[in-house]
């Protein structure tokens, strides 16, 4: 993966089509995204079925990034697994230390990983997304350390599309959907944070803005 700090992309405000997500198949990729898809596809390996699937999933999230102001893709790879480095405009709660105040970062750099196993089994909800930055995420469903994997649920449906993973991640990080019960194995990766947010439940969700709404700032 490229050095994260070196990624700079000029911003064009996307326009949400009236049909919303249903418009994805008809969204024509812009030149930058078309080139990114082509470059990634050149290195794509695996069975013809898996290569076709990776291409279709990658195309769809690139199209999503063109209609969703809150979602931008910096890099895509598809040698074996399908991987993407993307930015999500979503409030991310962070705690640098036990005695430090809670801070809310305006966006997250996430790593998306879509492995072939998704075609043949219900893959655990921790296997798809990592918060690459900021560090110190303080969230019940994000592990402290280990590269901060995000738990989207105990097991994702067979063949879940990658665009669904993106939208679920937005819901999880913004705490529009959150699992705070540490006694339930289905999702809590940071029990201390779960307790913190149970006490401070009046602060959640961190935003009520929908995924397709315009990003702040």
């Amino acid at each position: 993966m490229a050095d994260i700090s070196m990624l700079r992309v000029e911003r064009v405000r996307p326009v949400v089509p009236p049909e919303g997500l249903r418009a994805l198949p008809s969204v024509e990729l812009n030149k930058r995204n078309e080139a990114m898809l082509k470059a990634a596809a050149a290195g794509s390996l695996g069975s013809p079925m898996w290569r076709a699937r990776k291409y279709a999933e990658a195309r769809e999230i690139l199209a999503l990034s063109q209609i969703a102001d809150r979602f931008r893709i910096f890099e895509i790879r598809m040698h074996t697994d399908l991987l993407a480095v993307a930015e999500l405009h979503v409030p991310v709660p962070c705690l640098e230390g036990p005695d430090r105040p809670l801070q809310v970062a305006p966006k997250a750099l996430v790593g998306l990983k879509y492995a072939e196993a998704v075609l043949s089994e219900a893959v655990p909800g921790t296997a798809f997304v990592q918060v690459l930055a900021p560090m110190g995420v303080w969230h019940a469903n994000v592990a402290r350390g280990f590269g901060q994997p995000v738990c989207l649920g105990p097991a994702m449906p067979l063949g879940i599309p990658l665009r669904e993973i993106v939208i679920l991640t937005y819901g999880a990080l913004s705490m529009q959907t959150v699992q705070l019960d540490p006694s339930d194995a289905a999702g809590v990766l940071n029990a201390e944070a779960a307790q913190y947010w149970q006490v401070n439940h009046d602060r959640i969700p961190l935003t009520r803005a929908a995924f397709l709404s315009a990003a702040e700032g």
Partner: protein
């Protein structure tokens, strides 16, 4: 004694007290089978059977195979006896009470019955075995009600093009069933072909999540936790029916008596033509299901439908087994690719080192990242430590690859495996664009695994 971690079965040693000097030989009881055109002794001496599931049905099949004094047996089961096992398994009360591991115990019994058979036992699920664990077996028997194990065994047999015989019971209707998956090509059926999406999704419910992204317990680890209700006689019947189908296949009897066939084990065998003289209708690739219905006292044979288009298993991929040109740890992946000749050449090759991941980067406790570019266990700590927090850089899921492309390996593709963290590699899969992959086995299979019976000498 625990052999689960290694991913390979342990060979069962003959117990001194049970060594009978002039023991019986199968020739003393094996009948003059009508139509037999092969050397039955040679075929059975050569035969290597792997049995997945050593419960009521699998144990009976194993004992039957031991009484035929087959060449080799592998028993795979992660379970232990319960007191209720006494009701369906061919075991004694003290064995049930001692909660003996099923595979190890079945292995011990088989070795006592047939000291000349090489017997291997694995006390874990098939999903935890090394990628090459079933290499070298002529036929795999599936005798488990764990759907995840069924899918896994089916997939492994498809890849290795090894025939699979599944024995099952339906206690409530007194039905015993045997399915024969020929696996001659990509067009045949597999155990997963008959499962729908909901059934497959159900396999993974209730898995324990791990923070480090290494996933969870093997899929379906909890599936099959409710014991199947059946009777000892029905389980025994399913086992005996399966064993008769196996005998017919191995000795070329009945529908398998195709002219010009010499050895099922050696030639890989041609399937009998559909609707044969002996009455076993063979579907494409010879797949069929034999069902005995207790209520009507009738046995029916029907062809199995060919591969379901929606099957979650990839039927097209084939894995060839090979020995590495030098000890595996001394080989580079480019060297293995050259030996394998993957479709598309090195540029289009990808590699899987069994049980390991290739970590492009690792992260420490304070969140700093560092390039690693080595093979490691998923989530394992590296040697280097962070200058700020003093903690090691651990491999993290987004930056690791279970299957890694030559392009991502960069210069590491030319370095010996032992220099890039994979000194202990048990086997390496080299795949290419043509659905064909080559599985190179390492030292472990040669020493203690079933592979000892094949490519690695015996």
């Amino acid at each position: 004694m625990n052999n689960v971690h290694s991913g390979y079965a342990r060979e069962v040693a003959a117990e001194a007290g049970w060594q009978v000097k002039n023991g019986a030989h199968r020739r003393e009881r094996l009948p003059q089978l009508v139509g037999l055109a092969r050397d039955a002794d040679a075929e059975l001496d050569r035969l290597r059977l792997a049995i997945i599931g050593a419960g009521s049905v699998g144990l009976a099949i194993a004992l039957s195979a031991a009484r035929l004094q087959v060449g080799g047996l592998l028993l795979v089961d992660g379970g232990r006896y319960k007191m209720a096992s006494l009701l369906t398994h061919g075991i004694l009360p003290h064995e049930a009470a001692a909660a003996l591991p099923k595979a190890a115990h079945a292995g011990r019994l088989c070795k006592q019955i047939s000291p000349r058979t090489r017997v291997f036992a694995y006390d874990g699920p098939i999903q935890a075995m090394a990628m090459d664990a079933l290499v070298g077996f002529d036929l795999v028997v599936l005798a488990t009600d764990n759907v995840a194990a069924e899918i896994e065994a089916g997939l492994r047999c498809l890849r290795l093009r090894t025939p699979l015989v599944q024995a099952a019971v339906h206690g409530e209707t007194l039905v015993a069933q045997v399915r024969f998956y020929r696996n001659a090509d990509a067009g045949g059926a597999c155990p997963a072909c008959s499962l729908n999406r909901a059934e497959i999704e159900m396999l993974t419910t209730g898995r324990e999540l791990k923070c480090d992204g290494t996933g969870a317990a093997p899929r379906g680890a909890r599936a099959g936790a409710v014991p199947t209700r059946s009777t000892s006689c029905l389980c025994g019947l399913a086992a005996d029916l399966a064993m008769i189908e196996i005998l017919k296949y191995v000795l070329g009897l009945g529908p398998w008596a195709a002219p010009g066939r010499t050895s099922a084990a050696a030639s890989g065998g041609a399937a009998p033509a559909g609707g044969t003289a002996c009455g076993t209708p063979a579907g494409r690739g010879g797949d069929y299901v034999l069902e005995y219905a207790g209520y009507t006292s009738k046995a029916v044979v029907t062809p199995l439908a060919s591969r379901a288009s929606a099957c979650v298993c990839d039927h097209a991929a084939t894995w060839l087994s090979a020995s590495p040109p030098r000890p595996l740890a001394a080989c580079s992946l480019s060297e293995l690719a050259e030996a394998a000749g993957p479709g598309g050449g090195l540029d289009r090759a990808w590699f899987t080192v069994d049980g390991m991941v290739f970590a492009l980067a690792g992260v420490c406790s304070c969140g700093k990242r560092r390039r690693l570019n080595v093979f490691t266990a998923p989530g394992a700590a590296g040697h280097e430590r962070c200058g700020a927090c003093g903690e090691p850089f651990c491999a993290e899921a987004f930056f690791w690859r279970r299957a890694v492309a030559a392009e991502e390996l960069k210069e590491q593709v030319n370095r010996p495996l032992r220099e890039i963290g994979a000194a202990g590699a048990r086997c390496v899969l080299v795949a290419g664009d043509d659905n064909r992959a080559v599985l190179f086995s390492g030292g472990l299979a040669g020493r203690s695994g079933p592979g000892a019976m094949t490519a690695h000498g015996s």
